[in-house]
Symmetry: C2
């Protein structure tokens, strides 16, 4: 017998299914399995004592405020802090341009709700972030894709895709999830040029931007877009501080955002994901619409978490410098883990397997010989007590069968070394079995 | 100039608008205005010190767990606690029947996402909870309504509404928001009978159930529905602990939920709303679908908050009895405020105005003379430094112009008395102006 709800499900449920990430997170609960599957930060780098002290100060001094309902847009001092921080990256935003969300996943869901009609085409990179596909499939979006290579999205293939009329582009420029690559400055300029020429705006998702382990910071798309706009108009903002012709949109009479690019970032990778705190930077009209939508979705992001985050970011001994110092620590830890993983792959992975070399972030991308199927490989891998996410999960149209994503932030170097050794053996064995004609694996040609 | 996002908004945005509650919450920031508008708990009853101690214990002992990503369904020990608690009310559920949500608002949004196709008809009480209308308008739901009176939804008017084919009913049986009334036991039985006869399931929203100030607890709809089912089948669960014919759905092989009624509740009114912690109790298949949807919406509810809530509920000096004792305190405080408000209304409200006398909860409902418009009245009220929510906000089709909602939990007795005195004067003045023919107010006839 089934319940009366089964035949009452909405149509959209047909486009939604549980994700591989979720199932794999469950695997990580078995301590025998070394999982490179989840996208989890290393718990060793969580600033637990800073959280403990900040929580205590907040509950001692602002307890009633912290536990009460609060504004849908977010805690004003935290929005101000974010606007100041964004300015350090050249992103000219006011607190009115900032909406606090319950993690970046909610930002994606919100933007889907505000923007996507059933059947709308979204242009993504290939591969792209699984969570965005999940969020937007719920709004019955369709996807067009442009492949990435070591320098990010292949802009020479972009023009054709843009003529198919996507509603917007979704781009992860820094330390791509899952690709592990970074969009070059040259391509960023080109991307902005195409966006402008074809009138297709961009959602720029930048959860890992601060976690750079080598090389120079590259300006975000949102900054390059504003610069392009200013240059075309001969000068920067006008005497009133506006971009030419854009009406004032905040209390100071300043409209900071040109708005062709919506920018997303998060505290999940720099403070802690268990807080569920992220933000959208967008023109005030977009923030307003997202606020109306968010109100119907969860009223507001947990007040307590916003106050504690703000207290950690500003109220400890290091004052405003806390995050800077803490991110430096994370970078050291993750850089070592990345290096350990890359070294181990050199040592243990058989010929015919290639991978990306990320300059930051949490992930790298492995390409297997064309005749291997990474979902089949995962079953073997789990038997050998190692796990990853099969590549097809990151492809809107299900291709990418011979690729996989590895996370290098969560496991310590020793486990990384052991896990990669195990995975190397599994791949070797799969290649051998395939060559011997054992019909274990999917043949793609 | 507008940004490129303006003409890219989804169709559904046309059915969504900011709520009166939100705008009124802003008013409460002006300390001169006595606001009966929001639905906020009294901050004086927040267990701030218990939170402070629990946060400290959690971050000292489980810091890494508290700050990490966690399961979409929620923190298992908290789900277990909720299942145990539900059992005290006769709701037979297993932890697998419980999904933790980011406030009850997210539960409403989730169920909308999982259940509602554009154009689907939902049967609500009239008036009904504004947040449900907001959440489901985003899925382009249509609404059919049945009015409530002092004993809740008028079941004798229900049958006709059910023949119009709604997908489900949405019912707030206890201390209705905004109506302040409670559904009688007799009507609950009748409602369940109609639900069964017409095959229209129910979402039962029970945020205030524990806040009863007088009289006896009345069993929730979800319990009455299960009993009806058991009685019809001659006995309770079978030898294996199943309802007849329902397949086992959890690890223990027990399927607890018949599933005709989905039950919602929250910690917002008993612990604190700033946590954003609530739950859905539903058949495992519904929980599974909601979990898939929630994953795309915010991955999971903040881990830290779930651990802190669980620690407060189980880990303090009172052990498992903390909430029981704390709810007793809340009841005392709110009972006094309700009595103060009812007394003041008797004293200060002019003839021709009537109101409900809630036996629990946070709200009461005022009906003005037919010729007054409560939105116009609010403008006058704000000038006189008192505020409320106009009744039309709680009516899916915008009627209820001569009604309004008052909250009695937030302001202390002194403020309640002063605020009601002010409001009484405003109503008196409006009646006089209307009688004198001053065209300030909307005439409805």
């Amino acid at each position: 017998m089934t319940t009366p709800w089964n035949h009452r499900c909405a149509q959209r449920m047909q486009s939604m299914k549980g994700s591989a990430i979720r199932e794999l997170l469950k695997l990580t609960e078995n301590p025998d399995i070394i999982s490179f599957g989840g996208g989890m930060p290393a718990p060793e780098v969580f600033p637990v004592e800073a959280f403990r002290a900040a929580a205590d100060r907040v509950l001692a001094k602002q307890g009633k405020l912290a536990l009460q309902y609060s504004a849908t847009e977010g805690y004003r001092p935290l929005r101000e802090w974010i606007a100041r921080k964004m300015a350090q990256y050249g992103i000219e935003s006011a607190p009115e341009n900032v909406l606090i969300t319950s993690g970046s996943q909610q930002a994606l869901d919100l933007l889907g709700k505000v923007l996507i009609n059933p059947g709308d085409l979204i242009l993504t990179e290939k591969p792209t972030y699984l969570g965005a596909l999940q969020a937007w499939r719920a709004y019955q979006a369709e996807f067009a894709t442009v492949p990435i290579d070591n320098n990010g999205i292949q802009v020479d293939l972009l023009e054709e895709a843009l003529t198919s009329g996507p509603k917007f582009m979704y781009i992860l420029p820094n330390f791509h999830n899952p690709g592990g690559v970074t969009l070059s400055l040259e391509r960023r300029h080109k991307l902005i040029e195409f966006s402008d020429r074809y009138g297709i705006p961009i959602i720029e998702d930048d959860p890992y931007g601060e976690l750079r382990y080598e090389g120079e910071h590259i300006p975000p798309l949102v900054v390059l877009d504003a610069e392009r706009f200013k240059n075309r108009h001969g000068r920067g903002v006008d005497d009133n501080g506006y971009f030419d012709g854009i009406a004032p949109t905040n209390g100071n009479g300043r409209a900071y955002m040109r708005g062709n690019v919506i920018y997303l970032s998060t505290f999940s990778k720099t403070l802690a994901p268990g807080l569920r705190l992220a933000w959208i930077v967008a023109p005030v009209e977009v923030i307003h619409r997202c606020t109306v939508a968010k109100q119907g979705m969860d009223l507001h992001t947990a007040t307590m978490n916003q106050l504690i985050a703000h207290e950690i970011l500003t109220g400890g001994e290091e004052g405003d410098d806390f995050l800077k110092g803490h991110v430096r620590l994370i970078r050291e830890v993750y850089r070592e883990r990345r290096d350990t993983m890359l070294d181990a792959m050199e040592r243990y992975f058989p010929e015919g397997v290639s991978w990306t070399s990320p300059t930051g972030g949490l992930f790298l991308w492995v390409t297997l010989p064309e005749f291997l199927d990474s979902t089949e490989l995962l079953k073997m891998a789990i038997e050998h007590k190692v796990a990853f996410v099969p590549g097809d999960a990151f492809h809107p149209h299900g291709d990418g069968h011979n690729s996989l994503r590895l996370n290098f932030s969560y496991c310590n170097p020793e486990k990384i070394n052991t896990g990669i050794q195990r995975l190397g053996k599994v791949i070797e064995q799969a290649i051998e079995e395939q060559s011997a004609g054992t019909p274990v694996l999917h043949t793609a040609f």
